[in-house]
Amino acid sequence: MILTLLMAHMLISVVLIGAVSHQAFSLWRPTAASGRNIVTNFRAVRGSVYTNAIAILYVLTTIGGAIVYPAYVLDAKKPLTDMSLNLAIGAFEVKEHFAIIGLAIIPAYVAYWRKAADDQDLFTRKVLTVMVAGFVWWNFMVGHILTDLRGIF
């Protein structure tokens, strides 16, 4: 059961990281789709269409993480502590905090993307999007590295 939830948590986070990366790139380096250049086409999306999906996926990922967290404490954190892998434990501690600070700004993120036509709020929208993207990337990378560490050791 926990393994299924962990897989679901991971799969949702894969979709989330793709969506938020597209949106962040399209906002900071907007361009029109052209040619066969993959980077140019990656950022040539209409960022506003991702907003609701990102917000829902973020909430779902956080809830999923909260459900599987006890399994991490019992099955992964203890071996990491026994092996004195403090950097890994610290990275996960930061992950749990980032998840919640990100959750705190999600309503503001949605509100400022709803006003996407208003250029006066562009900087606010950019900062909120980069923060959400940064939290998602950190949490994704740490989650995967720790899962790998648990498998290796």
């Binding site: 909260a66 019992l74 203890k78 959750l103 705190a104 503001a108 606010t124």
Partner: protein, 112 residues
């Protein structure tokens, strides 16, 4: 109704209160995953040390609950019109400060 609620107040209070209770480890309840138990006080043995049979305790859910309740109450009390000017330009600032505070606090893992 929803348009009168301020996402800026929610972001500010949630991130500030969560960060404060996390750093100072203030929680209204603890969760023991090994025994699937919620308690309001730490489970101790006769010598006053953490009860080994109960396993590790988790404080994270308690910190979230405190931050979330405080943020919801503040958002319901403080109307958006009061915070609109601050919100437009600095809605992200409290969360960024909370992030920096957390990073400084969690530096302890590098020093161990």
């Amino acid at each position: 109704m929803l348009s009168r609620l301020s996402p800026g107040v929610f972001a500010t209070i949630f991130s500030a209160v969560y960060t404060y209770v996390a750093i100072f480890d203030i929680t209204p309840f603890l969760y023991y995953p090994l025994t699937n138990t919620f308690t309001t006080t730490a489970l101790l043995d006769a010598a006053g040390k953490p009860l080994r049979a109960a396993g590790p305790s988790m404080h994270w859910y308690g910190w979230i609950a405190v931050g979330l309740v405080a943020a919801i109450v503040a958002t319901l009390i403080i109307p958006r019109s009061v915070t609109q000017r601050f919100e437009r330009h600095l809605v992200w600032a409290p969360a960024l400060i909370a992030t920096i505070a957390i990073l400084i606090f969690e530096r302890r893992w590098l020093l161990m």
